[in-house]
Amino acid sequence: MGSLLSACGINVKKKKVEEERHLRANDREFNLSFKYANNAIKTSKYNVFTFLPLNLFEQFQRLANAYFVFLLILQLIPQISSLSWFTTVVPLLLVLSITLAKDLSDDITRHKNDNHVNNRKVEVLINGELKSEKWMNVQVGDIVKLENNEFVTADLLLLSSSEPLNLIYIETAELDGETNLKVKQALTLTGDLGNDIQKLAAFNGEVRCEPPNNRLDKFTGTLTMRGETFALDNERILLRGCTLRNTEWCFGLVVFGGPDTKLMQNSGKSVFKRTSIDHLMNVLVMFIFGFLAFMCTILSIGNAIWEYQEGNSFITFLPRADGANASLSAFLTFWSYVIILNTVVPISLYVSVEILRLGNSYFIDWDRKMYHVKSDTPAQARTTTLNEELGQIKYIFSDKTGTLTQNIMTFNRCSINGKSYGEVVDFAGQRVEVTEKTEKVDFSWNPLADPKFCFHDHKLVEVVKSGSPEVQAFFRLLALCHTVMPEEKTEGELFYQAQSPDEGALVTAARNFGFVFRSRTPETISLVEMGVPTTYELLAVLDFNNVRKRMSVIVRSPEGKLTLFCKGADTIIYERLHPSSSKLMEVTTEHLNEYAGEGLRTLALAYKDLDEDEFEKWKERHHEASTSLEDREAKLDTIYEEIEKDLLLLGASAVEDKLQDGVPQTIEQLAKADIKIWVLTGDKQETAENIGYSCNMLREEMKEIFIVAANTAEEVREELVNARKKMSPESGDEPPIEKSRLLGKKSQVVEDEKVDGEYGLVINGHSLAFALQKDMQLELLRTACMCQAVICCRVTPLQKAQVVELVKKHKKAVTLAIGDGANDVSMIKTAHIGVGISGQEGMQAVLSSDFSFAQFRYLQRLLLVHGRWSYLRMCKFLRYFFYKNFTFTFVHFWYGFFCGFSAQTVYDEWFITLYNLVYTALPVIGLSIFDQDVNDRWSFQYPQLYAPGQLNQYFSKMAFARILLHSCYSSLVLFFIPWAAMCDTVRDDGKDIADYQSFALLAQTCLLIAVSVQMGLDTYYWTAVNQFFLWGSLSVYFAVTFTMYSNGMYLIFTSSFPFIGTARNSLNQPNVWLTIFLTTILCILPVVAKRFLFIQLKPTINDKVRHKVRQAKAVPPPLPRKFPRRRISTRRSGYAFSHARGYGDLVTSGRFLRIPVKSRPALFPHTDTPVADSTPQTYRTIFEEAQSP
């Protein structure tokens, strides 16, 4: 299973393994000698000539088609053939041609794409001149010139660029989906070539490098030039698929072309996921094969007995072929019955299943309610084969940042000197809900204000303007105490780069309230305080870390006052307050509680004026500690501790980690649908917990929320066991394992355990690592699965996948993983269903997902509406399909007893051919594409409707057994009623009607009408299309039947249509119709009675809701309920800085300040591979190396 994690497949189709690539610039002859692939790509599979043979070859490798061929061969043996060849050939041709058409259109699209890409133009240096060339003609060793916004032609070695220091900027969206710019730099040596064509043409450097591979983050090679050798790494390589941005031009040397490029090497086949219904079907098909063999055996034994008893004496009229005796006859009969009864094996089912899955996928693509206007993104079913599984989800694994939250922090509330600001109240002092329309505070008095900043409480501005010292100190602190870096491209246009969005939000708030952080040097911080430029001397940064949970700066004001500003988690700050603050502390605590209750991330702010002497002394010791070689961290912490005491409280800030729209509602809905949600986040515990509360996962009404945060394996185990015992005291030590062997695969399935009440579980990264170890896995699983909500913090991408894998492996449940970032790829690929949020963090998650959309809230629609419908439809389809085919087939079985087990068919051969293909095909597809039990609004209203899917109630082995019995009953009715009615009967003019042909016609008409009525009974949602399909199919049946039994057809194809006149002669008989009517009623009567009885006695949730819908017909459908925001009294610390150590070092070292000011976007993210990057990045980090010259 671990192989699932390997992100990409590798093309292993190489003639000769290339060990090293060797090429010389501008020397085509030399390079051609190696026969490297040129830059043409081919993703298409076939060409005009190979299409038919290759495609057919592939198709016949499928079991279903192979089975058809096997049947066809059987039919060609005259002794066995109980059906004409066309009964098999026609469906086979149809199936083949549908697949053929689909593959053809796919391949044509691929050809078009290939052509489009191959015919793109690029400027290539040929014989000392730049010529425009098609991409496909570019060779390894060519030098190409790229211009701004052009796609990179092939994998290039960057030679030179228009930008200083030979830098270029690229966007890798097509490659890894990330839309932010990355920087690449050429070697100085080649950079000197500039855009001098002569020099470039004369360039003859030789490159030796690794052979083509699929690693996007690695390149090793050397460039040899004038006898000197230079090392080449990934920094110098431009990969195909990237786009050049913000760079006028650049030159590059083609290293890998076309199929050898890393892009193409990466486009391996993704893991093929199958749904649980697929697996069940495989089991059932095996069973059906067995059942078929069983029926055939019985019938052939019957044949042997008949041949022995009757056949021997019947020889006078029915001689046997030479040498044939009873046993040979029985053997042949076995195979004859295999042909006749082959319809129990649902071969055409596979085709239909694909069609209806495709249909349901289109409905997902088309849904306007999953279309996000802002980003113009519709939902997309990227895999069309998993829809019904969406209706069976039991566990959702969600990423947090970017999925549940928008990763936008907004400064929302603050408490300054015991007064809370930020709440909007009306005249009566009542709280007003903040909406889009609420009037925003006008910051126009402050020219440096960030126009995007919103605040709704006017009082705060007034207080600031009025010059309240506490309020000003509050914002001064926010403007000084941080590690944000400013960037001022043009005068007055400030951009902040913060390591964590919280910090950015706080500094921006200070900026808008008149304390603008403008620039910093290692020694100073320049502010504009209420319009007055002020420069503070930065004396020390007492950086943040996880243990300290606070950060301080020591600054000297222009007036020479020394001050320590500190912000941090309230509990931590409170411990270090001066007793004089205790009164303020109480008030602030109240406010903090209130903020926390709203799910805001809070910080307490404090300051302290320092004594010059005291500080000098401290500084010496600080210097000592910071230069000591051993145990520096600990020593520094102690030093910090010394000075961070007797602080004076200023107040508290509250930042909102903005949830995506509708997240709490969605989670509540999903919880009602009994879906368990696990949040797997890279965040730290407090943050995650907070989000858990604010998005409704963790609720106050939960009985208990367990927090597992232990440091050793034993403690973790203990905490897990304790939690479990608390939830379910009677749960045993041994997990309740249901061992099952399925098709040779051994699986350990842990059963669900009963718990009353709702619980939550929070587990931190450290504990999770222990808990995921082999011997503790099941313990974790048991405890976690008893909880309604589970939050795992500080999880690495690999652990995300492990957690998903754990549940997938040991629970009989369908899992779904949803995420937006590269760090979610592994879990998206592991889960049964992966959903990608096509949002801000790029496309990587989407590219590996099965479904994608723009907002988390669409998940409820995807599951509760589309998933549920898909599951319902698929199950209905399967049930009905099996029913109709079994019923069809079993009639043959009964007839066997009346025709000497001779494999005589009951129906006309044409009916057998067309039954699945024409007469019942469209109605069943109509049923399975349009059917809905209740519409989407009701589905939302009653999320409980989702439960049957999770329990596999609509289609399971039990359901299959019921279908078998039902079919058995129906077939008995369908055979014996016509049998009894026709026995020794004649027409109303005394002529024959009990003849074989009339009987066949009667039996098949009864069957068709009975299954059509059954279909009507199964259909919940009768659209015009359904009606049309059903009535259309019935009329087609009669039309086709009358046509095939007509004089004309007989006279033209005498031997193919021997049933001439049967329809005319028997369908005008009243007793024929009375028989049809009787059989139909008898077939559906028990079904109706049973269903009605169940609705009365044991109504399912579905029945109840449908009943409600019926009652509410007059009343308009319910509106989506409003969810009042809950106010929670529990105190939760929400200190929410980024989890990594801050970069105070960087701030003071001043390395970053040596950057030449450039008018380029400077948001360079890390270029490590996303999956390998173990710490999830909640915010962009500064990539300092890239900027250093």
């Binding site: 279309y371 000497g900 004649v986 109840k1104 809701v1105 409600k1108």
Partner: protein, 367 residues
């Protein structure tokens, strides 16, 4: 801050997601707002409520029972007389014939019977066979429809399906195949014995016993307008079991060769191993007297057809018919039964609905 950097991206004119091959997608990707695509097609959503199910049961019951009674009465009014003349019993006049059957000698026997009730209107005379597997697969397919349709080529070269009755002495058999070969060839004659003991033959019509489509479309003599069947069938052999060739089945040119109605009737194979086939029709002559008055009759059988070897039975059936065909009480009884069950079920369901249904349906859904 985040917002500002995001904004910068938008200004770039770069849409995440449109970076693919096509590129410039100016058109919005918003899906169309059609009822079909949004799955809002107007629909009728029937559910099984007490208001629909219970009346349905009662109505079905109310419809079925009268139909059933009607059918039953109709079936009962049909007069039918059946006479087994296989001759398995020592006491049967045909016992000797059935024992000493050979293909050359014709054996005759005569059975006497009496009708207790007069048969009004047309009377249909059938022969019935039991335990005769006319529906056996090998039997059913052992014919050549092209040949029977008058196709010259098939006449010379019958289909392989006819084996082993395809050729005889290097001549193609016409009509070929096992079905034709096993054609029923007993001759049945009916006599009325009037009260003074005199035997009067009853005239039996042999035309109009086959389906019109069979007689006029499916079966045609080869040679088209050539009325001399002897020459048409010149190069063919007669079926092995037959006493005379196909062109001597009847003297009437309209009832000879492949279009001989007895032959056509036989060729329409039965669905079940027990079957009856129309043999003759006794036309009603005038309105005054019944077609077959009460009294004694005799059946003269020319016993040709061997069924003893496979324990088959041969019957002669006299029957009148009604609008629903021949006598078959099954449908009537079935309708009455089903109707009663419906009615009964309706009552039971009504009871259950009253007792439990209201409670369950009005109960709210726990949310």
């Amino acid at each position: 801050i985040m917002a500002s950097s995001y904004g910068a991206k938008e200004e770039d004119g770069h849409h995440p997601g449109s970076a693919g091959l096509g590129g410039a997608a100016i058109r919005t990707k918003k899906p169309d707002n059609t009822a079909f695509k949004q799955q809002r097609l107007p629909a009728w959503q029937p559910i099984l409520t007490a208001g629909t199910v219970l009346p349905a049961f009662f109505i079905i019951g109310l419809i079925f029972i009268p139909i059933g009674i009607g059918l039953y009465v109709t079936s009962n009014n049909i007069k039918e007389f059946e006479l087994d003349y296989t001759g398995t019993d020592m006491s049967s006049p045909c016992f000797n014939c059935s024992q000493s059957w050979n293909s050359t000698n014709t054996c005759k026997c005569e059975l006497f019977f009496s009708l207790d009730q007069p048969f009004e209107s047309n009377v249909f005379m059938y022969y019935g066979l039991s335990n005769f597997y006319q529906n056996h697969r090998r039997y059913v397919k052992s014919r050549d429809d092209s040949q029977l349709n008058g196709d010259e080529r098939s006449l010379k070269e019958p289909s392989k399906e006819c084996e082993p009755y395809r050729t005889n002495e290097n001549k193609p058999i016409a009509p070929c195949g096992a079905i034709a070969n096993s054609m029923f060839n007993d001759t049945l004659d009916l006599f009325y014995i009037d009260p003074n003991g005199k035997k009067r033959p009853i005239s039996l019509t042999k035309k109009g016993i086959a389906w019109w489509t069979d007689k006029h479309v499916k079966f045609r003599n080869p040679g088209g307008s050539n009325s001399n069947l002897t020459t048409v069938f010149k190069d063919t052999a007669k079926p092995v079991n037959w006493h005379k060739p196909v062109y001597e089945l009847d003297v009437d040119i309209e009832n000879n060769g492949f279009i001989n109605e007895d032959f056509i009737v036989w060729m329409r194979t039965a669905a079940l191993p027990t079957f009856r086939k129309l043999y003759r029709i006794i036309q009603k002559n005038n309105d005054m007297t019944p077609t077959l008055p009460r009294g004694n009759y005799s059946l003269a059988v020319t016993y040709n057809y061997p069924v003893r070897s496979f324990e088959g039975r041969k019957r002669m059936i006299l029957s009148t018919i009604s609008w629903m065909g021949g006598k078959n009480p099954f449908l009537g009884i079935a309708y009455i039964t089903v109707g009663s069950i419906c009615f009964f079920l309706g009552v039971v369901l009504l009871f259950i609905h009253h007792k439990y249904g209201n409670r369950n349906n009005s109960s709210d859904i726990a949310s």
